[in-house]
């Protein structure tokens, strides 16, 4: 092992240092996976050029993995508020109130790439990471679930991946004492080179134990506890593991795999120590270290509290020597936690960590300047003034990281669309195409018309707007995606599908035939048109699609009507009332049939008990 000190670059150094400019190597920011545009954005946020360490910190925090820069704008559209929501987006896990002062914390996360590289450790550390997100909130993890998708099981590599991933999830969970209680397993050729490994953890907490991942109170201490920090998983969040970077900045150039290795025993100790620290009310905030390591934990906690954190690089316990500052700051060594502690509680906190056999150290303090600062005495001696190696506004790394509004377009095979038609429309009656580009006709079910329909759509040049998925076991997901339900029947006995569509709040366009007018109120819950009149169908569908408010109103009216008139109870009551009316009529006629009673049909046909029937 070389004992040479890694070179230090102070704030204000040019990117890559002076000598880098003389070499033909690609610019450092590109080697780190940052685009030229992103470098400009970083300069704009700092008001100057970043140095190498700062650039490394940005590169991991602005990675897709940490910043969700491409999906954030879409994720924001998801519903997150509600009566029972105790903690929503922005924290480590969602928390929902379940009564009796209790709440559940849960989170789902993918660990696809690491699992494709090293299935056992990839999956295991996925479980470790998701468990930390749960107990960081103050919840005791009680269950793990997994959703796994692999390629063809006949393929040897797929079998290797399945075996490793399943064992990784189960092995890690078993060791920390949290059972894997459910999940799903899907095989499809499209996952051959890209398995999906999603793990979920659920935890239970007393609402009073809810803990935030924030760093409030300037002057409070940042305590790192759990495993020591090493070179494993350097830049796992980005493409940082570049040879160029390693050779020029790391003392020994040694690189561990970017897939981390899990230690479930350490995790178990972390769970118990963390929950004890929380239960004893010793913490101001708690954050686990995952992707982007200390950089992520300090910047996120500071940003949430509107504070800053000064990190004392030399105080971070390491498992190997000669680590460069950037390696320490972005290492993804597993099973580590960052606690924010009031100075007067430090001894109690360190005592609990000691009791659980966990290394713990004060690695920084909360400041009021809003910056994540990295300082070190390396190279200046014990007595010298610490050097500032990096200074970045916490929010520039997290909440104000770059966000992209990526171009979005529907897949080409459903780009253009004809009007919704119907399997039984006359051949000459298919409505003109393009009446609502983007609309897609989905015909569910299996039958002799399926292939002729497909052929005809092809002949008309609208095959790309017709989906014939065949038999759908569960039609609810289809109904949920639909905007209008079309039922061009020639006759109809009752039409359960209409009720299902109404219960899914869909406006309906249907034939005015048989029983349908009894179910669909024309103009109120949908539109009725003459059976077989394709033009009328098209016009009605077009109107509904172009007037979403009309569709919404009709959908709501349909739902109300289905509930009021066609619920199980209501139908049973209707049926029963018919019997009751019939029965009431009987005794009135009985005297006419002569005195003496005897058996009558009426007494044999006793009405069913109402309470049983109505159930």
């Amino acid at each position: 092992m070389s004992l040479a000190e890694p070179p230090l670059h102070e704030v204000g150094d040019a990117p890559g240092g002076g000598e880098a400019d003389l070499t033909p190597e690609p610019a450092l920011h590109r080697a780190l996976g940052l685009t030229d545009h992103e470098l400009e954005e970083i300069r704009a946020r700092l008001g100057r050029d970043p140095n190498d360490l700062e650039l490394a910190m940005f590169s991991v925090m602005w990675s897709e993995h940490c910043s969700y820069k491409s999906s954030r704008s879409l994720l924001r559209t998801l519903p997150t508020a509600g009566e029972g929501v105790v903690a929503g987006p922005g924290e480590n896990a969602g928390v929902v109130r379940i009564g009796d002062g209790l709440a559940v914390a849960f989170k789902l996360e993918s660990h696809n790439h690491p699992s494709a590289v090293e299935p056992y450790q990839g999956a295991a550390t996925g479980v470790g990471g998701i468990l930390r997100d749960i107990f960081t909130m103050g919840a005791r993890p009680i269950a793990i679930l997994d959703a796994l998708k692999f390629g063809d099981p006949a393929d040897a590599r797929t079998r290797h991946l399945v075996r490793g991933v399943v064992r990784g999830v189960g092995g890690y969970g078993n060791c920390v004492g949290v059972p894997t209680v459910g999940g799903e397993l899907v095989f499809h050729p499209s996952y051959a080179s890209n398995p999906l490994v999603n793990v979920m953890a659920v935890g239970l907490l007393d609402e009073r134990d809810l803990t935030r991942a924030a760093a409030p109170g300037p002057g409070n201490l940042a305590v790192l506890f759990g495993s020591t920090t090493g070179r494993d998983g350097i830049g796992g969040a980005s493409v940082l593991a570049s040879a160029t970077f390693g050779e020029s900045h790391s003392a020994d150039g040694a690189k561990r795999p970017t897939v981390q290795v899990g230690d479930p025993f350490a995790e178990k100790l972390l769970i118990e120590a963390s929950l004890e620290l929380i239960g004893e009310r010793l913490l101001e905030g708690l954050q686990d270290l995952g992707a982007a390591g200390i950089t992520c934990a300090t910047s996120e906690t500071a940003d949430r509290a509107g504070t800053g954190i000064e990190v004392d690089l030399d105080a971070i316990p390491r498992r190997e020597g000669g680590m460069a500052p950037f390696e320490v700051m972005i290492s993804e060594s597993q099973e580590r936690m960052l606690a924010i502690v009031r100075p007067e509680r430090l001894e109690a906190v360190l005592g609990i960590c000691r009791r659980w056999g966990l290394p713990a150290a004060v690695v920084g303090r909360v400041t009021d300047d809003g910056d994540v600062t990295v300082v070190s005495r390396q190279g200046v001696g014990e007595s010298g003034t610490p050097r500032e190696l990096a200074r970045i506004p916490a929010r520039a790394l997290t909440s104000e990281a770059i966000v992209y509004d990526r171009e979005a377009r529907p897949p080409t095979h459903i780009r253009r669309a004809p009007a919704p038609g119907a399997p039984e429309l006359p051949h000459d009656g298919l409505p003109e195409r393009g009446m609502d580009p983007g609309a897609v006709l989905v015909v569910l079910g299996e039958g002799p018309l399926r292939e002729p329909l497909r052929e005809r759509a092809k002949a008309l040049g609208v095959a790309d707007a017709l989906l014939l998925p065949g038999r759908a076991g569960d039609i609810v997901p289809w109904l949920e995606r639909a905007e209008v339900f079309v039922h061009p029947a020639r006759w109809e006995g009752f039409g359960l599908v209409l009720l299902e569509a109404m219960l899914a709040r869909l406006p309906i366009v249907a034939s005015r035939v048989s029983s349908i007018p009894e179910i669909v109120r024309d103009g109120e819950t949908g539109d009725l048109v003459p059976p077989g009149d394709a033009g009328a169908f098209a016009a009605a569908v077009r109107r509904t699609l172009r007037e979403p408010e009309l569709g919404r109103r009709q959908g709501e009216a349909g739902l109300a009507r289905a509930r009021a008139h066609f619920s199980e109870t209501r139908m049973a009551e209707h049926t029963l009332s018919v019997y009751e009316r019939a029965m009431r009529a009987r005794p009135a006629r009985r005297p006419e049939r002569g005195a003496g009673g005897g058996t009558s049909a009426g007494s044999v046909l006793a009405p069913p008990r109402r309470d049983r029937t109505a159930r």
Partner: protein
Amino acid sequence: MVFPGSNCDRDALHAARLAGMEAELLWHEDPDLRGSDLVVLPGGFAYGDYLRAGALARFSPVMGAVGDHAARGGLVLGICNGFQVLAEAGLVPGALLRNASLRFEHRWVRLFVARHDTPFTRSVPDGAELRLPIAHGDGCYFLPESELDALEARGGVLFRYAHPEGNPNGSARGIAGVLNEQGNVCGLMPHPERASEALLGSDDGMLLFRSLLESAATRLAGMAA
């Protein structure tokens, strides 16, 4: 008993309390057993078990006190990892090897109860089989052939895996749980504490905990008399 890495400690505490015991958690570094009549070594991965299951835990500060407690006739129950610790500490005979399948095995099994005159099984009805879950990688019970005969001869085999599920891990003679010579220390691989309520799939495990409660009470009454 809580070793670092124990993960069935809270389950055992729950089952003991459900049986009517006054129960609390003991700490591996504290040799004070606080006057316990029964010490339960729970399942889990004591000290991570990265070396060999139970190999480190036997050296923990509390194990001396557990040995003294056993020598005085005190009751000790080792479940799964607790069984492995007892075997490593020499408090019960035998060793637990890697499962014959070389895989982690977890499933419900049926246990044949060989004796009903022990502190662990006195409440188990004659002829009753216990339905309990197993979950372990190293549960294959091993003892040299000659010693197995001696073990059987002295009534040291308390539980055997029964059909239809059979022997899940390749244990010698289907042995799932054994007794020490004095009959006050028992180790078994299946988890009675995970079968403490019908809601969990079985409450057969409570038969063991209730047996132990009665045994402790009888022993106390005997001492007082």
